[in-house]
């Protein structure tokens, strides 16, 4: 909505109805143009590449869905999808629950909150390469800070290594992701809690509602639009996990931690199979497009989130 005074100052009211119609579009035009240039055009080009033959970066003729069929027939693609799904299904719910719990505690009025909040944001602010190297040192073989002091000294997982073990490497990377992204969830939810109106809580107090009832019947419904948006963003981001895997395991041991992004990176920059890599990217996009739409519809109808 345009503020009347502002609009008046801008001379909108003096403009013709046709000009007034275009005014909002004019305001969002810079953003839209930027998005088209940096997002839509590369995406459309990726779709174009996925439908064409390519060798050594040179685009050849139209080959229809052949690149898609090659990718879908590759067991590494399905392995990578499995890795990403396990990663997302474990990491994001834990981050969500820990983040929400932390936000509620912060909102309840913790001492030194002003100091704690910026400190808690440090992991999220760290560059992914630094996070990777930090955890590489923490979990290095049997002599890392954590692996030696926690595991070796007390005989837990003695003689093994987190990132060097086919059974543990993925869980190690999930742990790193939880460490890095829980503070983001926490602070986003905390900001949401801070912006909730006070009146419903006053009414609930007068009605004698207990804290559990307040949380489930007032806080959660009012916070749900934010929760849904944050969870969608994290789901998408977590599915695209690349940095920490690249630094910590390179996709190994074997293919135990090879995510779709790692696989696509190798296809492009190591194998130079740009057509197949583009097909993989489009497949992942389609999957997420469908999933996010479904999630949105469910959130809209069941949670009244939007």
């Amino acid at each position: 909505m345009i503020d009347t005074d502002t609009a008046s100052r801008a001379g909108v009211n003096r403009e013709s109805p046709e000009r007034r119609f275009w005014y909002p579009y004019l305001l969002i035009a810079p953003t839209m143009v930027t998005l088209v240039i940096i997002s839509l055009i590369p995406f459309l080009y990726t779709v174009y590449l996925s439908l064409h033959e390519s060798k050594y970066g040179q685009v050849g003729g139209f080959i229809g869905l052949e690149n898609f069929l090659v990718v879908l027939a590759d067991p590494r693609f399905w392995n990578a999808m499995g890795v990403a799904i396990v990663f997302v299904l474990i990491a994001v719910p834990i981050e969500f629950m820990l983040g929400l719990a932390g936000a509620l505690i912060l909102n309840a009025g913790v001492r030194y909150r002003g100091t704690l909040v910026p400190l808690m944001f440090i992991p999220t602010m760290m560059a992914p390469i630094v996070v990777g190297l930090l955890w590489k040192i923490m979990f290095a073989g049997s002599w890392g800070l954590v692996s030696y002091n926690l595991f070796e000294r007390f005989g837990i997982l003695s003689g093994t290594s987190i990132f060097g073990s086919r059974n543990l490497a993925l869980y190690g990377i999930i742990l790193v992701d939880i460490w890095q992204w829980t503070p983001f969830m926490m602070l986003a939810f905390f900001a949401g809690l801070q912006s909730l109106p006070v009146n419903p809580y006053r009414a609930a107090a007068i009605d004698g509602a207990n804290p559990v009832q307040v949380f489930f019947l007032i806080t959660l419904p009012m916070l749900s639009p934010l929760l849904v948006v944050i969870v969608i963003l994290r789901l998408i981001d977590a599915f695209k996990i690349f940095d920490s895997i690249f630094i910590l395991t390179g996709g190994g041991p074997g293919d135990a931690t090879e995510s779709p992004s790692i696989f696509a990176y190798k296809m492009v920059f190591e194998y130079w199979q740009i057509g197949e890599a583009s097909a993989l990217a489009v497949l992942v996009w389609l999957l997420f497009f469908g999933f996010c739409n479904l999630f949105y519809q469910v959130a809209k109808k069941r949670l009244n989130a939007f």
Binding site: K55, Y56, G57, Q58, K136, A140, G141, S142, W143, Y148, E152, G159, T160, S161, I162, F163, G164, S165, R166, A169, L248, T249, G250, G251, G252, P253, G254, D255, K266, F269, E270, Y271, W272
Partner: protein, 474 residues
């Protein structure tokens, strides 16, 4: 007698006259011929040209970068000498060469990259430039380049695609203080029946690995161990040079290989199975986490005293074996990559010889060529060796420089020089990085005991056939 004296005198005068003429000719003409070629004159047509060279960043190149202004001052050719990490050099360099963008005039290429780039026709041969007497110094002395590293990297189907820049190779690196400790020597001889010394054979390396693998509380060289100690450190991470080391330092020393003489995949063989089993069995004597150990971590394991020995890249050993960098500096022992005592065929060791090549899209190939020539020039290499106090030579003559012969690392350089006799560039396989990726994953599984060597060779052969069919090598 007199006649003899006379004739002798006449002969002396004749010789003196010839000598005088020769000397005067030499004074007048020969020096001018010898000095006819200079970088300054050769570069005159290209003065003011700006070239962009992409190289890998390590302490070697960072030191070399300090010499580049000398080239600029002498030739007037401006040089933007860009240094990027290993992966970025490969990605950005290849992207530029394959796209034909020509942002770089010269790109550092590892031998493994050559198959893809030659198949794509992205490189400019330099034979015409080498044959151009205006551009090429008569003292270039290409016969002095260390072989077969240069030829197996730069030459293909009768054409030359670059001049050598760096010669990385792996070698055997051990804790000399442990191997020479009297208590350890006596115990080792009692157990294995021969003297404890830096390994000359793979079998000795295995025995040493087993011997030194000890639990916390045990004694090592008279000291009680606070933590576990391990017999060997090996690279085992997915990617990196894990597969290259298995391939060239183990498979080939067992008589195995990846391809047959026609370039067809030939991985599922008894030789390869035996070599992979030997390599995989060594993991039992390594610290936990070999599957996450990169080529950077191996020197750390040796330098911090976690393992007794390793097969590691020699340039990293150079960095670790310095006072202040490791408490064991000066106490390390070096040897070439051990041979297989049970195999009499040619020896082999993993290496990564590199060249700088000129892209087909380069707008300044002559100026770039002059820079490459200057980079590999004997004088430049000598200056670089002085500045580094050694290095990784590309010329045979460099080994004789005081920076190598009189160095504190002389033993390391001897091992490096000896190892380079068994090294070469990688075969020209366009899909080589895909093969590296798949194979290093399989090797990890063998090291971790998840699959057997038999399964690894079978799966590897199937993967090779899927990746490049019946003919992998160009």
């Amino acid at each position: 007698m007199r006649t003899n004296d006379k004739s002798r005198r006449a002969g002396w005068w004749r010789r003196a006259a010839i000598a005088a003429v020769t000397l005067s000719m030499a004074a007048a003409g020969l020096p001018s011929l010898a000095n006819a070629w200079t970088y300054k004159e050769a570069a005159a047509p290209y003065k003011g040209t700006k070239i962009v060279i992409l190289d890998e960043v390590t302490p070697l190149q960072q030191t070399f970068a300090k010499l580049v202004p000398e080239f600029v001052a002498e030739t007037g050719i401006e040089v933007d000498y860009q240094l990027l990490n290993h992966f970025e050099v490969i990605n950005k360099g290849q992207a530029d060469l394959l796209s034909g963008r020509g942002a770089y005039d010269g790109v550092m290429l590892h031998s493994a990259q050559m198959g893809l780039l030659l198949d794509a026709g992205a490189l400019r041969p330099i034979d015409d430039l080498l044959a151009d007497s205006k551009l090429t110094s008569p003292d270039i002395d290409v016969a002095d380049f260390i072989e077969p590293n240069w030829s197996t990297t730069a030459k293909f189907k009768g054409e030359t695609y670059g001049l050598p820049t760096w010669n990385y190779n792996v070698m055997y690196w051990a804790r000399g203080d442990l191997l020479s400790h009297p208590d350890e020597q006596a115990a080792f001889k009692a157990k294995y029946g021969y003297d404890l010394a830096p390994a000359e054979t793979m079998q000795q390396m295995r025995d040493i690995a087993e011997f030194f693998t000890r639990k916390a509380g045990a004694t090592l060289a008279g000291q009680t161990l606070a933590g576990d100690f391990y017999g060997i450190g090996l690279e085992g991470i997915k990617g990196g040079t894990t597969w290259g080391t298995v391939w060239n330092s183990f498979l080939k020393n067992w008589g195995g290989d990846l391809f047959d003489k026609n370039g067809k995949p030939n991985f599922d063989t008894p030789e390869n199975r035996a070599a992979i089993k030997f390599w995989g069995d060594l993991w039992a004597f390594g610290p936990p986490g070999l599957a996450e150990t990169s080529l950077l971590d191996v020197p750390t394991l040796v330098g911090t005293g976690v393992v007794a020995q390793s097969i590691a890249w020699s340039d990293f050993a150079l960095g670790v074996d310095r006072p202040g960098n490791s408490e064991f500096a000066g106490k390390f022992a070096y040897r070439p990559v051990p041979r297989n005592a049970d195999y009499n065929g040619p020896r082999s060791a993993e290496a990564a010889p590199s060249i700088i090549a000129i892209g087909k899209a380069s707008k300044n190939p002559q100026a770039a060529y002059l820079f490459l020539q200057w980079m590999s020039d004997k004088q430049t290499q000598a200056k670089l060796a002085d500045a580094l106090g050694g290095g990784v030579p590309i010329r045979n003559s460099t080994w004789d420089l005081p920076a190598f012969k009189d160095s504190d690392h002389a033993k390391l350089y001897e091992a490096m020089q000896e190892t380079m006799k068994y090294t070469s560039g990688k075969p020209r396989v366009p899909q080589i990085y895909q093969i590296f990726d798949v194979m290093s994953g399989l090797m990890q599984e063998v090291g971790l005991g998840k699959i057997t060597p038999e399964q690894a060779t079978k799966q590897g052969q199937e993967a090779l056939l899927k990746i490049c069919g019946d003919k992998c090598v160009l």
